[in-house]
């Protein structure tokens, strides 16, 4: 395996996003995720608590924003993270949101149609 060779583009629906192709082509999120969340942690004697920073900026952007999406989809099966796990209870609520939305819209539209159709029936008399 050589890092220098870009991964061969493959047919089908797999996207390849270059790492070997050069750092500029690697997605910023992928890099941040790795250099901030992973990598060996050894506290230098110049200490900055990355967790503070992470919570304020990165974690918020990388993780929390996507929790909503995750719940919309109705899964959080990467739930090894206990913090994410705690959100599981909300899941059912979120899951039914689409359905609720549809029902509300449905109800509103039905009454609107009724109003319009009955309005149409009276149209001749009202117009005069």
């Amino acid at each position: 395996m050589t890092y220098g060779n870009p991964a061969t583009p493959s047919s089908g629906t797999v996207r390849r996003s270059g790492v070997a192709g050069g750092p500029q082509t690697a997605n910023l999120a992928d890099i941040l995720e790795r250099v901030l969340d992973k990598g060996l942690v050894i506290a230098g004697d110049i200490r900055v608590n990355l967790l503070d920073i992470e919570l304020l900026t990165i974690k918020l952007r990388l993780v929390i924003a996507s929790l909503d999406t995750a719940r919309q989809v109705g899964i959080n099966w990467w739930e090894s993270d206990p913090w994410l796990n705690a959100q599981a209870a909300d899941r059912a609520v979120e899951k039914s949101r689409d359905q609720q939305e549809l029902e509300d819209e449905n109800r509103q539209l039905r009454s609107r149609i009724e109003a319009l159709e009955s309005g149409e029936g009276n149209g001749g008399t009202r117009g005069d």
Partner: protein, 263 residues
């Protein structure tokens, strides 16, 4: 206050680490260089206290532009060295007040570091992300409408809307099942695997809902097979848009959890 430079550590390699000629340019514009102790070599760079000292660092890390520059520079050096030999990548902002302090850390942590090196030698990290391939709303809306002229355009709209939402729901369901299957299969080809929360679309710069964000530690001789399997899986799970990234230095497999993943 004296302005002696600090030592920024990129990664740890074995003893025979390369002596850079000119060195890759790293964080803060300085060249990366080897620093050896205890039979190990740290890849370090000199950085200014004014930018990378404790207070400055804390402030700078909150600046997303600075963070991006620094993260890319850090990654670039690690990647350059990883082309040559196995390296244990360090988390961003591992900074020592001097070369001596960094060397002392190498001596103190030599056993851990050697273990981590062994774990990742001959292996690379591959990233696989899966997005829901959202169905085409208009396609769902174009379903045959049978005898609806009697029930009026309002009812027809409702039916179309219902079909759209149902199609979207089905697609997501299918994608979730697909993501689990993909992860199970790729894990079998890997020495170790990690699943992460999905990235938010804003920072990932991607459209659509991410439901799989995983990293796999794959033996280099299996890399081709791994890539081929991803392609195959993508063809089998159409509800999922898969993205393969890599090879990466083994960022995800040297951290604290990495010990348990050793195999």
């Amino acid at each position: 206050m004296t302005e002696s430079p600090c030592a920024w550590i990129y990664a740890i390699a074995d003893e025979a680490a390369p002596v850079f000629t000119g060195g890759p340019i790293g964080v803060g514009g300085g060249a990366a260089r080897p620093l050896s102790a205890a039979g190990l070599t740290a890849i370090v760079g000199s950085v200014a206290q004014s930018e990378f000292g404790e207070a400055a660092l804390r402030q700078n890390l909150e600046d997303l532009d600075w963070l991006e520059r620094t993260a890319r520079a850090h990654h670039e050096v690690i990647e350059t060295v990883a082309k040559e030999r196995p390296v244990v990548p360090m988390r961003l902002a591992t900074v020592y007040s001097s070369d001596e302090a960094a060397a002392a850390m190498l001596r103190k942590r030599a056993d851990d570091l050697r273990q981590a090196l062994t774990r990742i030698t001959g292996r690379s990290e591959w990233g696989v992300k899966g997005h829901v391939a959202e169905p085409d709303d208009s396609a769902a809306g174009r379903q045959p409408e049978t005898g609806d002229s009697a029930s009026g355009p309002g009812a027809a709209y409702l039916r179309r809307r219902r079909a759209q939402l149902a199609a979207r729901q089905d697609a997501r369901q299918e994608a979730v099942v697909g993501a689990q299957a993909v992860h199970a299969e790729l894990s079998r080809l890997s020495a170790s695997a990690r699943v992460y929360p999905p990235q938010s679309p804003e920072i990932a710069g991607s459209a659509g809902v991410m439901i799989l964000n995983a990293a796999y530690l794959v033996a280099d001789e299996w890399a081709e097979e791994f890539g081929a399997t991803v392609t195959e899986l993508a063809a089998r799970h159409r509800a999922l848009q898969l993205t393969l990234t890599g090879p990466w230095p083994a960022y995800s497999f040297v951290g604290q959890d990495g010990t348990e993943a050793a195999r």
